[in-house]
Symmetry: C3
Subunit: 361 residues, 3 copies
C-alpha cells in the first residue's frame, strides 16, 4: 500500500505530440515505464517499457515497421505489445505480451490512460481545442518536478501564492486579496476569481503594454486527476467582453513516480498571434515563473515527507485546493478498493476555522 497513492484511471498528458516520433522514447508515467513511439501509419503508441522476456526496456531496442526488437535477447514486440517472434526458435512464445496503454493524439497532445483500459473513454479528454485553433497561438513545454503530484494540484488551485511567490511577474496584492467562488462537480473542481480595477502585475505590463488599471480574470478548472486549465482575461477596466486580451493555460500534472511529477504546460493567447518575439518572451517568462514554483514545491515535498502527519491550517482561499486534494484521495481510495487494497490515511487537513463562503456547491 502506497503512502502517497497515485490515481491511475484518468487521461494524463503523456507527451507533447512533437516529442513522439519514430525514435523510441522512455518516460515513467504513474510509476510505470512507458515506451512512446509512432507506428508506421503515424499513429502514436504507448506500451509498457519492459520486455516480457527479461524486462529490458524495449525503448532501447530497434523499431522496424511496427515491430520493436528487444536489444537484449531479440524478442519482437508489435504495436499491440504482443511478442510476434524470437530469433532463438521458430515458434513464437505463447502469452508473451506487454501492456498497451490507451493513447490518443489530440490537440497536439499525446494523452495516456495509465489505469484500467476498459474505463478509458476518449470523450472524457478535456476540450483544449484552442491549442489548434487558428485564431490562437501558444507556447508549450514541460519541466520535471521532484515533488508529489498533489502539491502541484494544490499550487494551481490556490493562486493566491502568486502574490508571494511570483511578485516580479504575475503576482501582486490583488490576487491574494480577491476571494474565489468554487464549484465542484463530479471529477471537476472550478474556481472563479475576478479582480476588478486593479493594477496590472509586472508580466502583463511588459507583455501587453498595459498602463491603466485592469480587470483580471482567473477562472480555473481542475479535471481530476491530472489536468488544470486556466482561463485568463486581461482588459483595461471597463472594457466589455469579448474585448480585451484572452489567455489560456493548460497544465498536465502527470505523476512520474509517487514523489516526482511531469509538469507539462501550454500558454495560449488570442492577440498578436503572429508576434514571434512575444511568444519567445512568454515562453521565457512562463519558464521563469514555473522555476519559482518548482523550487518551492520541491522544498515543500521535503517538509511534507518529513512530517507526514502534521495537521494543516486552512483558510477560505484553500477551498478549491482542498477539494482537489480530497477528490484525488477519494479516487485513489476507490481504485485501491477495486483492487482489493486498503489505502493510506489521507494527508490531514484542519477544516477552515471560519465558514466557507456562500455560493459554493
Amino acid at each position: 500500500m502506497a503512502a502517497n497513492p497515485i490515481v491511475m484511471n484518468g487521461w494524463y498528458i503523456g507527451a507533447w505530440a512533437d516529442e513522439v516520433g519514430r525514435t523510441l522514447m522512455q518516460r515513467w508515467i504513474c510509476g510505470r515505464p512507458v515506451c512512446f513511439y509512432r507506428l508506421s501509419d503515424g499513429s502514436v503508441n504507448a506500451i509498457e517499457d519492459r520486455c516480457p522476456h527479461r524486462r529490458y526496456p524495449l525503448s532501447l531496442g530497434l523499431l522496424d515497421g511496427d515491430v520493436i526488437t528487444c536489444n537484449y535477447h531479440g524478442y519482437q514486440i508489435d504495436g499491440s505489445g504482443a511478442c510476434v517472434g524470437v530469433a532463438e526458435q521458430p515458434d513464437t512464445p505463447k502469452g508473451a505480451q506487454v501492456h498497451r496503454f490507451p493513447a490518443v493524439e489530440r490537440y497536439g497532445i499525446v494523452w495516456i490512460w495509465p489505469g484500467d483500459p476498459e474505463q478509458a473513454n476518449p470523450d472524457d479528454i478535456p476540450d483544449v481545442s484552442w491549442l489548434v485553433d487558428e485564431n490562437w497561438t501558444h507556447v508549450h513545454g514541460s519541466v520535471g518536478l521532484k515533488a508529489r503530484q498533489v502539491l502541484l494540484v494544490e499550487n494551481l488551485l490556490d493562486l493566491t501564492h502568486e502574490t508571494f511567490l511570483h511578485p516580479s511577474s504575475i503576482g501582486n496584492a490583488a490576487v491574494a486579496a480577491t476571494p474565489i467562488d468554487v464549484i465542484g462537480e463530479g471529477n471537476k473542481v472550478s474556481f472563479v476569481r475576478h479582480m476588478i480595477d486593479i493594477e496590472a502585475p509586472p508580466f502583463y505590463k511588459s507583455s501587453m503594454g498595459v498602463t491603466t488599471n485592469i480587470d483580471r480574470w482567473q477562472d480555473g478548472d481542475f479535471y481530476a486527476p491530472g489536468i488544470f486549465i486556466l482561463n485568463i482575461r486581461i482588459a483595461p477596466t471597463g472594457t466589455e467582453e469579448p474585448e480585451g486580451f484572452h489567455m489560456k493555460v493548460i497544465y498536465g500534472m502527470t505523476p512520474a513516480t509517487e514523489t516526482t511529477t511531469h509538469d507539462f504546460f501550454a500558454l495560449g493567447r488570442d492577440y498578436k498571434i503572429d508576434d514571434a518575439e512575444l511568444s519567445e518572451f512568454q515562453l521565457k517568462q512562463q519558464l521563469a515563473v514555473m522555476k519559482e514554483d518548482v523550487d518551492a514545491l520541491e522544498i515543500q515535498e521535503l517538509m511534507v515527507a518529513t512530517d507526514p502527519g502534521m495537521i494543516e491550517s486552512s483558510i477560505r482561499s484553500d477551498v478549491a485546493g482542498i477539494r482537489g486534494r480530497r477528490l484525488l484521495e477519494k479516487m485513489a481510495k476507490a481504485e485501491a478498493a477495486a483492487r482489493g487494497e486498503v489505502t493510506a490515511r489521507p494527508r490531514p487537513v484542519r477544516p477552515a476555522a471560519t465558514p466557507e463562503p456562500a455560493g459554493q456547491a
Copy 2:
C-alpha cells in the same frame, strides 16, 4: 519507533550567537526543522520551520518587525509561532500555530530545547562562563558530521583514540597508556586522566613552545544528552597549580537527524589571550583534528549501520563511553515510554572482560 532514537529533552547548542541575526536561518535540530532569528528587541527566537498552513519553510519568508510572512501564501507568524493574520481574508485563522522552542542566549551560545517545553529549565544549562570571561579567549565554529550522535559522544568520552587517530597533533602514546577515573552522577559522566612527566604531543610543542616533559590533564564532563566539556592543563612537570597553561573545550553534539550531527566546538585558553596569531593557529589545528574525527566517525557510521547487531568488545578505557551511551539509551527509552512508545533494542556492548577499576561510582 526509531532504530537510533534521539534524546529530545535537553539543552543543545542550536547555534553560535554570532550566527543568528535578523536574517532567517533554517537548521535541523533533532529531526525537526528550526527557524532561528532575532526578534526586534534583539532576543533570539527559534520556531518550527514549517508554516502551519502548507508546511513551507518560514525561513524562506520575510521578517518585518517580529512577524514573518510566509513566502508561499502569506501566513503571518509572530514570535510566539502564532498566525496573526493572512492577506486572503480579514479574519485570522484560529489555532494556526507552530511550535516555539525554548531558546536561551547565554555565553555566546544559542541554547535550544527540542523536547517538552515544560521540562526546560535554563538553570540546567552547563556553566561555560569562560567563553565570556575576560581572562580567557577562545576560537569557535562547527562542522557537519554524517554519523549518529552517540558515536561522537563515545569518541569524546574515550580520548585514547588520540594516540592512534591524532598522532601528528594532540595524541601520543601517553594518552592510551594512562588510565582514567570515571564518575557518573545523574545525567553527567565525568572522567579524569592525569598524565605525569610525559613528552608533549606535537600540537602543544608548537603552540606553547614546550621543550621539557610535561604534566597533561584531561578532565572531561559529559552533560547528557549533548554537551561535552574538556578541561586541560599543560605544564612543565613539577609546576604547581594554578601555574601552567589551561585550556577548555566545549563540544555541542546536536543531532540533526538520526544519522547526522552538528559538531559545535569552542577552544579556550587562559594564556597569550591577545595573541591573534595563536588563535588563528589553534582554530586551524582544531579543525584539522576534527576533520580526522569526522572522517573516522563517518566510516564508523557505515560499519555500525551495516551490522547493527554486532556485539562489541570493551576494555577499561571504555567505561566512560559506555556510561555515556547507556545514559542516552536510558533517557531515550524514558522519553519513548512517556510518549507511549517502545524503544529499539540498545546497541549491544559486551561487558569489559576485566573488572572495572576501583573508584568509580
Copy 3:
C-alpha cells in the same frame, strides 16, 4: 529476510592475487566487509574488516608483521582475527575476535568462502589451471556492477544476447540461431553450443585474421554460486580438433551487496601466447564488451527492482539461465533454513511455452 538473498556457502573470487599484498585492502564480499592482505609468510589472509572493539575498519590500520593495529583505539589483531593486545591495559581483552574467512590462493586467484567455514573445502574450487599453464596466456581484471548477481549469472548462461547486445564484437545472428544442449548436475549447470560453418563475428575476424567461415564452440559451465567458465573453440570450418584457436574465459560473479556485484574476468588463449599486442587488444575488447553488459544489466536491475513480481516469459534458450537461477534460489533457501529463516519468494518465471528440447537432464 532479504528480498534478494545471497548464497554464502561457496568459493567466490575475492581478488586477483596480484591485488593483494602488504597493503591492507577493504572489499565488500556478500554483504560483509573483508580486509585482504598477506601475512609475513606471503600467504593471503581475509578477515572481517570491523574491529571487534568499535567496528572501525581494520583495513585503515597499520600492519606490522602479522598484526594489524586498529587506527581508532589500537586493538591489535593477528592473522587469525584475534585481539592479541591493546595499548590501554596490560591484559588482553578476552574473546575479542573477528571472523577469519577461509581463503586460498590458487591459479593467481584469491578464493574466499563467505559462509560457514566448516563447509569450506578447497577441493571444490574449480580447476582453472590454464591460468597458470605455460602453454596459455591470459588477460584479467574486474569491473563493478550495480545489479544483483543473478542477473549476471543469467546473462552468461544465455549467450544469445551476444547477437543483440554485442553485434560489433562477439555477436552475430548465428549465436541466437543455434540451440544449446543443457546438462545440470549438482551445483553445476553446463551448456553446449556448437555453431558450424558460420561467418566469424567481428572480434574474431580482427583478432585472428579469420577470413573464411568458421566453426565456433561455446561450452559453458556454471559452478554455483559464483563461477562461470566458458570454453571457446574457433577454427576454419572443417578443421579437426585439436587444431584451431582455443580460448577460455572465467567470470567470478561475486556479490558485493544484495544489489551490487564484482565482475571478475580472465580471458585466456592457447595461440600467439607471446603476442603482447594481441593481449592488449583482447583486454581492451573484453572490457568494451563487458561495458555493454554492465550498462544493460544496470538498467535491467532498475526494471526488476521496480516490478519485482512480474512473471517473465521464457523460451528454450533460457533453460540454462533458469536452471542457474533456480539453483541459486535453492541454495539460498537451504542456507536460510539452516539459519532458521524463511526465504523470500523466488523471482517468478513463466515456464517455457514449448517443451524443452530433448537431451537435457
